[in-house]
């Protein structure tokens, strides 16, 4: 018997109980749509956070002294690069490199008249393209010039918390490379906003020369930060620039904690996917079983006419596949609409909430979704496969009915 005719019976049977069929395919659609929206949101947040981290914190490749520990921000000579300008120049010669510049990191305390905050000082080459995102995010005052001897830049969020504004003077305290405390008065030259409250709250920028002088680290830098044209070239560039005493770390090494944490979170999410798909499958099985129980005599008739068990199985599997496919189409529409909304409008979570994520998670104040075609494909296929597998039971049940018993069913 042609498959098309079996399908005709299968899909017409769905029309017998329209309301039930509509609710069933809505369950499939809503389940899949929910997963697609959640997946789109999580993918968006993860991708956005990683991109933010690379853009603002890590770059694609970093060159550091072997002994440098990021969490300690040491200023001791042995932990710093002695020739950062040479390394940056060498990096810039590579065609894969978009920008490279030395950076000096240090812990500082910023004091106002009545408040203080522990911050990360970043002594930067203010002319480098590395800082384009921050330069374009200056919301008040002005960007730092390389020869500025007493200017700093702080985040708008921090300024609001401390009650300071551009043009005001503040004190910075640092424990310099000799291990002695030092203090200086600086003028807030401008305020910046990157859209990452956690970052804006914790960073203070200063021209590299001044930072080196302030911390007693003349000519040295914590690292050379490198931005690439294509992040897939990170390993190649790291290999080309690694040298004795110099560690070349890629963006994946530098965001390891974030990537691993997200990997763990995603595996929980896969479990959630599975649970939702399983619920959808149970609904489909329930619908099909009801359909089988209502049509026992009909199965007997078909068997009496010579229809084989295999054909009856195929008929029910086609019925399940039809329900699943229409449900998947509904789910794709719901999912696409939801992800489109999240990708264009996003969910504002506010500065404070975003800042709670801490400095390891460069979470934006608005969470944006991201359209992931592969997740649409995977989840649709998974739904179809699970539904068809789950339908095997009712299909086998129907195909194994004894014709004689089935014919006598009322």
């Amino acid at each position: 018997m042609p498959l098309s005719k079996l399908w005709t019976i299968a899909y017409r049977d769905l029309g017998r109980h329209r309301r039930r069929s509509i609710f069933t395919l809505l369950a499939v659609g809503l389940g899949l749509g929910l997963l697609l929206v959640m997946d789109g949101l999580i993918s968006g947040v993860v991708a956005d956070s990683l991109a933010n981290s690379i853009r603002l914190r890590t770059g694609h490749v970093q060159l550091r002294a072997d002994s440098f520990q990021e969490d300690q921000l040491s200023l001791q000579a042995k932990d710093l690069l002695a020739n950062p300008d040479e390394l940056a120049a060498k990096a810039k010669e590579l065609s894969e490199v978009k920008a490279a510049a030395p950076v000096l990191w240090s812990s500082v305390i910023l004091n106002t008249i009545d408040q203080s905050a522990g911050l990360q000082l970043m002594g930067i080459d203010t002319t480098s393209a590395l800082y384009d995102p921050i330069r374009s995010g200056v919301t008040a005052g002005e960007w730092l010039s390389p020869d500025d001897r007493d200017g700093i830049l702080i985040g708008r969020v921090l300024a609001e918390e401390l009650g300071v504004s551009a043009g005001q003077k503040v004190n910075l305290t640092v424990v310099n490379s000799d291990g002695r405390p030092d203090e200086g008065t600086f003028t807030i030259r401008g305020l910046f906003s990157t859209g990452i409250p956690g970052y804006d709250q914790s960073a203070v920028f200063m021209p590299l020369d001044k930072a080196q002088a302030f911390t007693g680290s003349s000519g040295r830098a914590s690292l050379v930060m490198i931005l690439l044209n294509n992040q897939n070239d990170a390993n190649k560039v790291a290999a080309a620039l690694s040298a004795p005493g110099v560690a070349a770390l890629t963006w994946s090494d530098l965001n390891k904690f974030f990537v691993e944490t997200m990997g763990t979170a995603m595996s929980f999410y896969v479990i959630l996917d599975f649970i939702v798909i399983l619920i959808v499958a149970v609904i489909i099985v329930n619908t099909l079983l009801m359909s089988v129980f209502e049509r026992v005599r009909e199965m007997g008739i078909l068997a009496a006419l010579g229809m084989k068990g295999r054909q009856i199985r195929v008929m029910f599997l086609l019925e399940a596949a039809t329900l699943a496919l229409i449900g998947i189409a509904v789910g794709l529409i719901i999912g696409a609409a939801g992800v489109w909304y999240l990708a264009t409008t996003g969910i504002p979570i506010g500065d404070k909430m975003a800042a709670v994520a801490g400095s390891n998670f460069a979470l934006s104040a608005t969470m944006y979704g991201r359209f992931e075609p592969i997740s649409f494909l995977n989840l649709s296929l998974a739904t179809l496969i699970v539904v068809v597998l789950a339908s095997l039971y009712p299909a086998f049940y129907a195909s194994r009915l004894e014709p004689i018993k089935a014919l006598h069913e009322q």
């Binding site: 017409r12 017998r16 078909l302 068997a303 009496a304 010579g306 068990g309 054909q311």
Partner: protein, 228 residues
């Protein structure tokens, strides 16, 4: 040669600890083109006999041969094949597939036998005409009267040109007029096609159509019913 041969066929049903001997050593032969009524009181074994002949059930003992083949040992698939090719059924409750039109119901056995499109179309049109339902071809069962449904069932049973048609109380759910109409059609088609008709019935008006009457009582053949 007999198309159906039962030799000492028995069938026992168990309901808990109670055993019911529905058929108890039945031996019968049916020839091609017969128009035979199986009669007897309720519980005499008429329906069970039809089920064994129709390969819907298997005997516990004895043999059932269709066209010389012992079908007692056939697998489920072999029995399905035999039903599809050689046996048509007409049931008391009409037994049409509710989601298919009259045309599609008649076409169904031909589709199961992979008959080609043009031949299928000609056969279905011819059969619907034969049962007087050409103008009702597109109607679904719930749009047809009981008599019309039974006529569609007769057309469907004849579609694959079977060796025999087995009808279990074919007029039980029909009024007198429709019952007569159904029997007239079956009698005419039996004469025109040479297909054997074997029907179980209580109805004396139906029995009157039969050329042979087999009487059953308590699962045994009471009267073999020589052809009239």
């Amino acid at each position: 040669m007999a198309i159906i041969e039962l030799v000492n066929a028995t069938r026992t049903y168990e309901l808990g600890e109670v055993k019911t001997h529905a058929l108890n050593g039945v031996s019968l032969m049916f020839e091609p083109g017969e128009f035979t009524a199986l009669v007897g009181p309720s519980g005499s074994g008429k329906t069970t006999l039809l089920q064994l002949i129709g390969c819907l059930d298997r005997p516990d003992g004895g043999t059932v041969k269709i066209n010389g083949q012992d079908v007692s040992r056939f697998s489920a698939n072999q029995r399905a094949d035999l039903r599809r090719k050689e046996i048509g059924f007409v049931f008391q409750f009409f037994a049409l597939v509710p989601v298919l039109s009259a045309y599609e119901n008649v076409e169904l056995p031909l589709l199961l036998s992979n008959v080609k499109t043009q031949e299928r179309k000609e056969r279905v049109t011819e059969l619907l005409k034969a049962v007087g339902l050409s103008d009702r071809a597109k109607h679904r069962p719930d749009q047809l009267s009981g008599g019309e449904q039974q006529r569609v069932a007769i057309a469907r049973a004849l579609a694959p040109r079977p060796l025999m048609i087995l009808a279990d109380e074919p007029t039980a759910n029909l009024d007198t007029e429709n019952g007569k109409q159904a029997m007239d059609i079956m009698q005419r088609l039996n004469q025109e096609t040479g297909t054997a008709f074997i029907f179980a019935t209580h109805d004396p008006r139906v029995v009157a159509y039969a050329r042979r009457v087999v009487k059953l009582r308590d699962g045994r053949v009471d009267s073999n019913g020589a052809s009239a």
